[in-house]
Every structure is written in C-alpha cells, then in structure tokens.
C-alpha cells in the first residue's frame, strides 16, 4: 500500500518533470527550426548552353543575396528561368513558389503585368513580398528595391552637360519604348542635361534593345548633325552600338558618349576614350538590401516602399579607384 503510493508519487513527479523538460526542448527545437523559408525568383538564373551577357548582373545580385543571408543566418532558395525573356516560365515558377507558401519571396519581375496576379495572390496568402530591379503592377510588394533610374539618368545627363559645349546638340538613344526603366532614365537624362542651362536635345531615339539598331541610329545622327556634341545611351546594348559607331566613324572624343552598365566592351571603350562616362548600377547592394528589407518586412517593421540601391558615374580617370573597380569588375 505505502510502496504503491510511493511508486505512484514518483511516477507523477517523473511525468511532470518530463512534461516540463520536453516542453522546453520543443520550444528550443521550434526556435531552431523556426528559420523561415525564403525564396527568391530572379529574372534569370542562366542556362548552361547559352551563357547570357546579362547573367553577370544576376550573378552579382546573388552574391549580395548570399552576403546578407549569411549575416541573417538564413538560407534562401534561388530559382528563376534560364533567360530573362522567358516570361511565361517565370510565371510558372512563381506560381509553384507561391503554392509552397514560403514566409517570404523576393521577386525580380520579368514583366510588369504578367506577374501581378501571382504577386497579389502571394500577398493574400500572407507571404511577405519584396520586388527587386523591376516592379510588378499593383501594391502587392511591400517594398521595391531597385536602382533609382531617374537619378541614374540624371547623373548621365549631368555628366553630358559637363562634357559638351552648350551650343552643340545632344541626342538620347533609348533601348525600348514604354518600359519603366527606359522612361525614367530618359526623363532623368533630360533633367540632368537641362539643369544648368538650355541644351539642344535632338530627341530620343529607340533602338529596340539592339546594338546594331543603335549603331545605325548613331551613324545617322552623326552624318545628319555634323556638330553633334554627344549621345546619351540608356542601356548596355545601346551604349555598345553607339560606341562602335563613334569608333568606326573616327569621332572618338569629338562626339561624347555617356552610357549605362559595364560590359567588357564598354570598359574597353571607356579606356579608349570612346565612352566618356558610364552609369553603373549596384547589383550586389540590390541583393543585399533585398534580403535586409524582406527580413524587416517579416519582422513586422515598417519599410520604405522604394529603396534606391544607388548608381555610380564612372569615368576613365576614376575607373581603377577601389570603389569603382569592384563595380566594374565584380569578379
């Protein structure tokens, strides 16, 4: 009888102790497993058979993502179509990602409209969403982390204004009509040009994101306007095409060129003096800030609806300064 009662008491104590202890361990384990899933959908993760020039940009974004992930102790899963133009494939990928219901998604939309419905579905499911580089329609994204293209354009315009005598005309070659980045850069460039006085801007010409088309436009412009002071080209392809035209026409240094991005050819043109200045984005920062912003969103903190990852104007004279070297030559 007494022995029985003793056993029972010991058992009750043991059960209580076990329950409390296991509660503790569960709490600990939950904290360890509480690392919430984060997925990144990029415009392009590259294809083996066709290494894309534009891939470099996303490689650097991923470096930034990795740096931030290490700092926050997370392990995001990065997915995306092989090439930037595979819009439908990106839609499918995003649909699969949203179906998995991760805690947070970082999205670089390859199309402003096509990905919007999925973005709002993600938001409705309580997934924290941050867009980078290119936005989507609607207000599903908590924050848009990207280069401020207006300001980048301004830098280009201002640089051109410094390079060219005010009486000479200037042209703008844009990569595509009606795309937000192109519109913003053009507006910025015009603003930067006319900031310190009236510039004669011949107009904005669209090159359909094709270097050959840009080449043709540039040759035509130089032939038509012999006093042409300079050209502002708004992305890599237009800059390369325009650069080739100026070199081939033997007008290096006479017709000033301010371009965007930093392909090897552009860097070479910059060294040769074909290009006077390049506006360079900061994709590493974009990746880093995307994770940082998403973490803040998931932690319930307020974030700015737009976060500028910055851009930098690089000339031949400062291209090998440490700050610029890393931007121009990420690897």
């Amino acid at each position: 009888m007494i022995a029985n009662r003793l056993i029972r008491r010991v058992m009750i104590s043991a059960v209580i102790v076990l329950a409390v202890a296991s509660g503790f361990w569960f709490a600990l384990a939950a904290r360890e497993d509480g690392e919430r899933k984060i997925m990144v959908v990029l415009k392009s993760v590259g294809a083996d058979e066709a290494p894309d020039e534009e891939m470099e940009f996303w490689e650097i974004v991923r470096l930034g993502l990795r740096a931030a992930s290490q700092e926050y102790g997370i392990d995001p899963i990065i997915v995306g179509p092989p090439r930037e133009r595979d819009i439908e494939q990106q839609v499918e990928i995003l649909a699969a990602v949203v179906a998995q219901k991760p805690a947070g998604v970082i999205l670089a939309a390859s199309d402003y409209e096509a990905l919007a419905p999925l973005a709002s579905e993600a938001r409705n499911r309580g997934i924290a969403l941050v867009t980078i580089d290119s936005a989507v329609a609607g207000d599903a994204s908590a924050s848009f982390v990207a280069t401020d293209n207006l300001r980048a354009g301004e830098k280009a315009g201002r640089a051109m204004a410094e390079l060219v005598a005010p009486d000479k005309p200037v042209a703008i070659i844009s990569h595509i009509h009606g795309v937000a980045t192109a519109i913003d850069r053009e507006r910025g460039a015009r603003g930067g040009l006319t900031e310190s006085g009236e510039f004669r801007i011949l107009g904005t010409y669209f090159a359909e994101n094709n270097p050959d088309r840009a080449y043709e436009i540039a040759v035509h412009l130089m032939m038509e306007h012999t006093d042409l002071g300079g050209i502002v080209a708004l992305n890599e392809n237009t800059t390369v095409g325009t650069g080739r035209a100026i070199r081939d026409m033997g007008r290096s240094g006479e017709v000033k060129l301010v371009g965007f991005d930093h392909s090897k050819e552009e860097i070479s043109f910059l060294e040769q003096g074909v290009i006077q200045a390049l506006v360079v984005q900061k994709p590493f920062n974009m990746g880093y800030l995307a994770i940082q912003t998403l973490q803040r969103v998931m932690a319930g903190q307020r974030v700015e609806p737009f976060i500028d990852t910055g851009s930098r104007l690089i000339r031949k004279s400062n291209m090998y300064e440490p700050q610029n070297e890393k931007l121009l030559f990420p690897f």
Partner: protein, 608 residues
Amino acid sequence: MKGSSVSVVDRIASALKLRSIQGSITLALLVMVVIAIVFMGLTSYTVARRAIISTAHGYTGALVSQVRTSIDTYIANMESIAEVIHRDENVRGYLRNVNDPGSENALRYADSAASLLASISQTRDDISLLMVYGTPDRALFHDPGMRLNTYASLTDQKWFRAAQAEEGGAVISGSHVQNVVADRYQWVITLSREIREHADNELLGMLLVDLNFRVIEELASAIELGERGYVFIVGQNGDLVYHPQQQLIYSNLRHERIGDVLSHGSGSFTAQVRGEDRLYTVDAESDTNWKIVGVNYVDELITPAREIQVYFVLFGILCFLLVILLSLRLSVRISKPIQMLRESMKSVERGDFDIQVEVPGRTEVADLGRDFNIMISEIKALMKSNAEKQDEKRRSELRALQNQITPHFMYNTLDSIIWMAEGRQYDNVITMTSALGRLLRLSISQGEELVTVANEIEHVTNYLRIQQMRYADRLDYSIEVAEDVRRLKTLKVVLQPLVENAIYHGLRTRYGKGKVVIRAFADDDLVFTVSDNGSGMSEELVAGLLSKAMDDLPRRGRNGSGVGVRNVQERIQLYFGRQFGLAYEAEVGSGTTVAVRQPVMHSDDPAQ
C-alpha cells in the same frame, strides 16, 4: 487511494499557504534554490563566456596566422619568380635591345625571354601574368598571344610608380584590376620591380608578376568563423585588400573597424558594430605589411554559454518541482500523523477508549502517538477501577439495605413468640420458632443476592405461617405461582416486606378476616403481585410509601412497615434500573395490590 491528481493539486494549494508548516518549508527551499541557481548560472555564464572568448581568440588567431603564412608563401614565390626573371640575361638582353626590335639579337633575346616566362607560368597556376616591360611601350608576356593595352597608361599605374620609388626593390601592391593586357581585366596582386644594369644601375625596364587574386580570396573566404564570422585583409594604408562585403562598405551600407585594426598590432579586441559585439583578431606579422583580421560575432560564440543558461533555467525548474514535491512529501509525513492523532482524540472525546493510534515511523509525532496511546490506556485503567469502586459501593449499599430487614423482622417475630409464650401456646411457639429458623436459613444460608422464585416463595410461605399464627384466624392467604416462573431468578426477600406491609396496613386495621393473595407470573418481565382486602390506602400514603427520600428512614419507629417497602423498591431499582420496581393499585376501602416487576432471568443467566 482516491483521485491522486486531485489530492496532489490540493496538496500543492495547501503547501502554498504560507502559514502552514509545509508552506514555510517550501518557501525556504525555493528561496534557497533560486539563489543558488541564479548565482551558479551567472557565475558559470561569466566564466564560460570568458573562456569561450579566449578560446575563440586562440582559435581565430591560429586560423588567421595560417592565412598569413599562406599569403607570405605566395608572395615569397612571387619574389623568387621575380628574382629569376630579374637575373635572367635573356630578359636583360631583350631590354637592352628594346629600341631595335628588328635586330637578330633582339629577336633571339625576346624568344628566349618569352619562353622563360612561358615555362615559369606553366608551373604555377596561381600566377596570372608575367610581363617584362621596356619603354616605350614594349612588352613581353608569358603568353605570346597577349598584346599591350595601349589605352592603359602603364606609367601612371600605382604599382609602376611604387616600383620606381623603390629603385630596384620589389613592391607588392594590393588587390586591383590588371589592365595592361588588351581586353583582359583580372583581379590580381601585383609584384613590380625595376630592372637595372648591375654595373651602372641604369634603368632597363620593369618586370611584373601578378598573382591571381582569387587565390587570396579563396584562402580568406574558406576560413569559417562560426555562421557569420569572416576574414578580411587590410593594406598598409587602410585600403581593403580583401573583404567579403567590400561593395557594402564602399556604399556605406556596412561599416568596418578599419581604423581600429590599423591602430592595433597583433592581438584581439572587441568592438561594437551596429549594436553587436564583434571580436577582432588581428595578425600583423605578414611580410607584406598587410593585416589579416578574423572577425567573430560574440553572440554566436557565446551560444554555448547561452545554452548553459538554458540548462540552468531547466535545472532551476526541475529543482522547483522537486522542492514542491519534497515539501508535499514532508507535509504528508508531518501533517498526516498529526491528522491521525487528532482523529483518535476526537473518538476518545466521544468515549471510545479502546482506540490505539498507529503512527508509523520514528518522528517526533510518532513518539507523540505512542505517548498518547499510553495516556489513553492509563485513563482507561483509571476509569475501569473507578467503575469497579462504584460497583463495590453499590453492592455494599445493597447489603446494608438487605441487612436492615432481618433485625426488623426478627424483632417482630420474637415479639410474637414472646407473646405466644406468655399465652402458654407452646405448640405454636415450636411451630413458629421452626418456621423462623427455616426463614432465617433461606435468607442467610445463600450469600447470593439472587434466588429462585421457588426459594422466594418458600421464604414468604414461612413468613406467612409465622404471621398466621400471630394473627390466628384473622389472616388467610393463598399463593399462586405459574409453573414456568418457579425456576426464574429473583432478588431475594422481595415478597416478605410487601406481605408484611399488606398485613400491617391492610389487615391489622380491619375487622374480620383478612386475606393476602400472592401471584407470580411472567409477561415480558417477572411479576409478583401481592393483594390484600384491607382498607386500602390513600394516594398520599402510596406516594409516601414509595418516596425515595432516605431522610424519612428515621420515621420507621412510628410507621415501621414503610421501611421494608421502600427498601424493596430501592434494591430492585439499584439492581435492575429505574424501569423496574413497585406499582401500587389502591383505593380507600377496597384493598391494595402491589405489583413487583423484575427482568426475566433464567437461573443459568449470570446476574446482570
């Protein structure tokens, strides 16, 4: 053994009442446990933290110096390669003839020098570029396919100027993009050195050995310092040779304690960056004058110490529970015996003295229980002896009462005998005297208080005979005894006083013949009735007859017969209780009947 869980809850609840014994015990234990746990937890945390940080410093220091040694090895290799190229006569020959490149000599030197560069680079993967440069703008590379980048003005390059300043000494430049080869941009560490004539120190040209920077990058990034820790390399002037987050630092998204690192020699320091403690371990021993820095996140390092805290909290909770259980157990051990003792005392209050408290164990309360048992048994013995004394007293009283009868009757009978002797009725004297003798024998010979009904009847018969003789024709009597009561027991000398009273009260005052009828029968009780046909009695007289007031006894001189009746009444009631005794039925003028009730007792029954 009912609902243990409920009782546990109750016990916890009662244990938490601070006024109770176990409440105090619990509180004291808990306070002790909390103080001990907090003290031990904090101490062990502090000690563990200190130990962990010093271990981390040692560990990180070892890793960082390993990076430094490897870098120094690479640099030493570069220097020895530079030395080989620097001494090579073909290289010097090429440079001496650089202004006459078409000459046979120049071509021969150029060929030999180029093949030297090519063979050196073949043996070393880490070397990304070997170049011998002569002004103006002539260069030999390890790869004959390479051309000089004519847009990059070499003489303006940092590494070129640094080598010029050294005048023949080798200079190591920090990480940068090498652009001397057309369409080739590579991150490298550059060793540059002027080549001068041995004789007159005349400048011949410049040699360049580039180490692929990726080698350094891999070396530094391979070092794992926890989840988030990292290694970075700072040049002499505070420029970053390598930092995993160089771009963030340039964009001011991140801050690095470069100033602190520069002002420190080898060793470690902790600094706060964005609210987090970081442990910087610096190695400044490198031949390159670079500082290699390992950064640990203190938070991460002390996770084990944090775990120790968690264990202590766990342990503390365990102790809490243990204390509560222990105090419950204690309370049961203390309060349960007390409870048992109290229960026993209550039943003693109710009059149960047969109880024995069983308090197990050797505690003070168990001793108390044993003392209680001794006390109870002593009280019980006392009460028993008291009852015995009371009984004894009652018996002696009874005997005294019984003894009252004999002298009184003797007096009357002897009076009659004297009276008959005076009247010379000698036969009668003989009869009466022998009847008296039998009477005495019946009442004396048995010392018992109880006799059979038969004996009692015989006794009263002898008595009646004596009285008949005294009253001659004036007294008649009859005795009717039911056969089944003859063997029953009765208190002795019950009938004689009643008959005596009937004769004196009923018959003596009557003119004519008096008759006494005695009956014995049993209903629920044994009943004797004594009836006379005398003048009867008033109610006052009956009441007076049965009045228990012993103070009336001295009145017997005047009214002697009342003494006997009262005596019978008192004896029966002393012996059997108040519900038994006498009942008179009397009316003035029509006789008296007295009934005596006693309990039915068979002769084999024990008295009482």
